[in-house]
Symmetry: C2
Subunit: 202 residues, 2 copies
């Protein structure tokens, strides 16, 4: 194995979900055929590095200082959805079910990983919520962190922060329960508990 | 999702074993923290593109026109091992069990994928074997293609090609049977058959 190949393998290994074997397979993939793909990926990465910035309002990835969602008047700015990562925005947008604004926290509170509220964009979030509330005097904040331990803790923290702005801001959390197509038999205890707690009249 | 990010996702998707979701996760991995890693991978890819060539003798990847294995007098040039891919050489070298030379075919015969003997380095292989045989008048060729349908067909083809050079060249094939740590109970029929056929006196 040459040093140049080893270096590529090393970089691939840093990617999420990529182990040493997959990383090697990825690197050698480019060494099989005329290696044009390698430079295509390299160029795409460099372009991303140069062009992509964080939107100043929602901190989603963007190619302009204010992203498309924050800059269009077509979105309902009376609703803002707080998510962990840019990919969560992608999920919502693909579903086409939400017409409000977003705010990307940049992770969750996770003491085990040394991530406290200071490591996230909590201050920016508070500022953004405050600004939208001052503007409209009516606002719903939808907390859409993941239904994990860390996500729940972060949700509580966000709730607390919003309460400090105003009690008039409506705070909601995504519903928890059985996902579509799930098999009740295989549902874990917490999911079943949440599904039962959240049951609705039919 | 911005266009620059989409392009990176597209390129990641071309890698073996990477689906759309993993590709997205990989691209966004670089957008979480200060994005220095993206350019590190880009640089590593470009360096690989520029530095890595194929060894003129064995067609393994190399940073010199003749690779380290082919250029050292420490290797036993009376033995040559024919493999499909550069990663197979890595596997042998990591195991440290073979001191001969290699030849990298660049794949296997696979009519379904439109890969015939002409798409592989069969001519170069014949030339290399011929040259080593002329030099030493004693040579063992170890056919180490994978124990798959295509690998077996390619092995037969290689065997045939060597017979056309000389009947005095010793041709061997890697043994097939149960892998270390395997559970007989879960072994497939072909593996069991090969293990039985290849049984040895103890």
């Amino acid at each position: 194995m040459t040093k140049a190949v080893e270096k590529v393998i090393e970089e691939f290994e840093k990617l999420p979900g990529v182990g040493p074997k997959s990383a090697a397979r990825m690197a050698y993939h480019y060494l099989r055929s005329p290696n044009k793909d390698a430079s295509a990926l390299a160029e795409a990465l460099i372009e991303m590095d140069q062009k992509v910035v964080f939107c100043q309002k929602c901190f989603n990835v963007s190619e302009t200082s204010e992203c498309e969602i924050c800059s269009t008047p077509l979105r309902d700015s009376h609703k803002i959805c707080i998510v962990e990562e840019p990919l969560d925005v992608v999920a919502f947008e693909k579903a086409g079910i939400f017409n409000g604004l977003y705010f990307v926290l940049g992770g969750v509170i996770s003491p085990a990983d040394g991530i406290g509220p200071e490591e996230l964009r909590m201050a920016q979030m508070t500022r953004r919520i405050n600004q939208l509330y001052e503007e409209h005097k009516q606002l719903e904040v939808i907390i859409a962190t993941n239904p994990s331990l860390e996500g729940e803790a972060t949700a509580s923290f966000i709730h607390e922060a919003i309460r400090n702005i105003s009690d008039d801001i409506q705070v909601t959390r995504l519903a928890m329960g059985l996902p579509t197509g799930a098999d009740l038999e295989y549902a874990d205890r917490t999911t079943l508990l949440r599904a039962l707690e959240g049951r609705r009249a039919v």
